[in-house]
Symmetry: D2
Subunit: 284 residues, 4 copies
């Protein structure tokens, strides 16, 4: 059985839902999930559909071209098609912190996070031991101010060689280049250790501590040109008190970071996220 | 313009979504919201649709009978139809606690809670002053073991006279009769001051305190024959510590109670809740 | 019986706790609560003590001067003394929003918020009806660009005439003058409708919506010269999704605002809050 | 420098705090943390003190016997003394689930959880691979109805041989014997996958799903004779909706379980927890 996921986007118009559901019905599809959202101020329509296509002769390419002819053109609709059982390839970039990496690997291994991990890449060698424990290839690409361009070329080659679909920055402590961001538009997922837009940039726990906040947060977002300003996928917060030192903020924050990041990764991997403008629609 | 809400329920079958969306489309309706849920183990299908029906000649009775003929019979579907701008009539039952009542009245007055309140009913006279402040009729019907039946008859008359659609028990400290429950099936909403199914019955904060829990909760549910065991609409929790006395539990709990109850009321009033078995589907 | 609360602050030194507890013991006091906090990086010591003083001849003035002689001078300690059963006088400033006002009045009336409310002051007449309902004097002082100074003089007179101890800005939509801030240093409590330091200033829900956050917040803080930058007393957050409009943000936010504000007021009224630098120590 | 932690418990009496702080002061100790709690209904007094003892001639045994003579007897006080830099030995019992184990090992390795782990014990061989990855001895002791007594003897020998201080049941799917519970009274920490007292016993996620709750929880508690009824150390909750299957409950619950368990372990290891009656005092 073929299970496919459709992510649709177009200007809001009458009759779209009927047209799409009809199309699927007439193509021997059974809708198992439908959720839609209309951004009224901008008159934008978003829909996520899952359907089973049982015909033995089903070919996704035919389905796509039929859809494009019958629906896509008529409604000036953009639609992405995914096979539900296809696992995307996720490259994991890390530096020295291991807490997000452990969670990603444990959840990938248990099947909870339905992605393949062709390799882990780091600008430091420290976490190789963890990669080894999980038997995942580890590439140490040292990055300095001088060799930055060269290092990025090495990265690009690796990504290409493994056909990587998207990248997770699991507390990767380097700013990624515009070139990579362009190439992986809305396909690089970062975890920032604050409740954005509060405390962007370096050392957010220190800033939060100095400001005397009573709650700290973590934010997972797609990476865009502007630092820590890309579309937010997921956030969460936890309480702190005057008793907590900066070290406590960091320790409490770690639990937020890894949980928020993995939640965002699951949503991305499960094709639940659509980006528009600088925001996300995250279907349930 | 007519805005209607449909709440549908039937056995899961192929093509339902297409059939319904088509029907609406062919009846000059524009779907503005669609959300559906399939309970796979029980093969039960639930859907909530909002649509605008612009035709000047629109009559909800015609729409209903057409729907019944074309869809209802074919899929053995149960469907409830509501006019979106119709405000249901909500009777508020209270005893001596005022915190839930204040919130209900303030939110109803501000328009946030789209219901009419024909009257407040209490087995005590204490809260009459609040009813007066908000200029809502207040009926004091004393209830004792001896006069219980008589008191309930008075209640029933009041409910009937005002055409009450549903009842909220805003910390009403009396067990309502089977007769009333039958008459208002899944239309009596209670707030219980614990995280059900923990601590049903009387004095849940005392029980929670004795058990040494680190979190307390509140639960809003439809009233059924079995005490505190009806379908849950909404719950929330908050932290407590060893420092908190029973009085603190009660005080903290009050904020939970009123917020959880009002959330449940809004969901009910906005036709977001469907009951099946002893559970609820609460659409977003 | 006299119950007093001591809030102490000095440079961290050896033996302070023993000295203070001894002093109280030798003055026939029984400590019923002690909590202390040392800010190690700044070597600052904070302590909150509650004690019962049973001697019939107890006079707080004598106690204070003895404390000052024996402890205060020796440790260069600043100490504030409060009688536990003395209710401070709180002026409530509002504009047009009523949700925070309702909660303050309901909780003050029930005794949960142990403050007296000599009057409610507003730059609009809208909420007079609520003041009337709760039988609290209401002063409408219109404020415009032209009459600002004059209006503030009227305010100052009222505050003085009633011996107001502290002010709560319950969604008061005017910037208070430096003069008032100086006069009521760390005694003006504001509720800001965002998770500060994100979204200071006007229309934070609009900014939060535009940024596409997945969580919104509210912050209660002491008012200082710099807008929305004073010491934070209490914060809380709640989830939002892409489905929520700005109107939904505002509605959800209201519940946060009133709960966060009342929590902060209780902590202030119960003498649990100490300000140092631009932060607060909030004892449990 | 010697840093010691005192956990005190006695009937509430006047002057205790002064007496204790004086004693420490006169023994060249500097109090760096003091927190106390009085259970008024039961007139029970609890205190946790940390102090630095700088004297070169300091011996904990002398300190203890002096304390016992001067304070302990006078107030009929029970006091436990701990060296702050001493790491207790924690045996980890597991079965087949790895999520709690990963977190415990990662946090122990990073130093966040200040305990030594002499060995991991399991009734299944599945998790040996993880023990190997972290280079911690793994003992597989098969348990069946027939060999239960023999298996427990093997366990007891291991615990004794390694001088184990306390045991964590990290989703260990066996009921531990009364003998072990007696031997390790309030020293066996379990994680139960529900918000106790709701859903004790087996398959709590299934029960929660059947009841239609809107929030699930996890509870870490000391193991006592009565199943899932021991003193609660820590709890937390998370939201679920009708969309979530039992599998989703289990997946969401896992994040709760591991975080709640590790929090409880840290509190225990840092000597923050006192048990009395069937409740805990958890100092901040």
């Amino acid at each position: 059985m073929n299970q496919i996921i459709l992510l649709m986007y177009c200007a809001d118009q009458k009759g779209i839902i009927a047209a799409v559901t009809n199309f699927i019905h007439h193509n021997q599809g059974n809708i198992t999930y439908i959720d839609q959202y209309v951004d009224r101020p901008n008159a934008a329509f978003f829909m996520r559909v899952e359907c089973d296509l049982n015909s033995e002769s089903f070919k996704i390419e035919d389905f796509k071209s039929n859809f494009s002819n019958e629906i896509g053109e008529r409604y000036a609709m953009h639609c992405d098609f995914y096979l539900k059982n296809h696992k995307p390839k996720m490259a994991v970039f890390v530096s020295k912190y291991d807490h997000c990496l452990y969670d990603i690997l444990a959840k990938q291994q248990s099947g909870e996070l339905a992605a393949e991990i062709p390799f882990i890449l780091s600008n430091h060698a420290d976490l190789k031991i963890i990669a080894d424990r999980f038997e995942i290839p580890f590439h140490h690409i040292f990055v300095s101010r001088e060799n930055k361009e060269e290092a990025e070329e090495k990265q690009a080659k690796l990504l290409k060689a493994h056909g990587v679909d998207f990248i997770v920055l699991a507390r990767y402590m380097q700013i990624v280049s515009s070139k990579l961001i362009d190439q992986y538009k809305h396909k690089i997922i970062n975890i920032h250790h604050s409740f954005l837009p509060a405390f962007p940039g370096a050392k957010p726990y220190h800033s939060a501590f100095d400001r005397g906040v009573k709650i700290i947060g973590a934010t997972s977002h797609y990476v865009t040109e502007e630092l820590d300003a890309g579309p937010i996928i997921e956030q969460d917060t936890t309480r702190v008190t005057h008793l907590n030192s900066i070290a406590d903020f960091i320790e409490k924050g770690r639990d937020l970071e890894r949980i928020v990041l993995v939640r965002a990764l699951k949503q991305h991997v499960n094709r639940k996220v659509m980006v528009y403008g600088n925001k996300t629609v995250v279907f349930s």
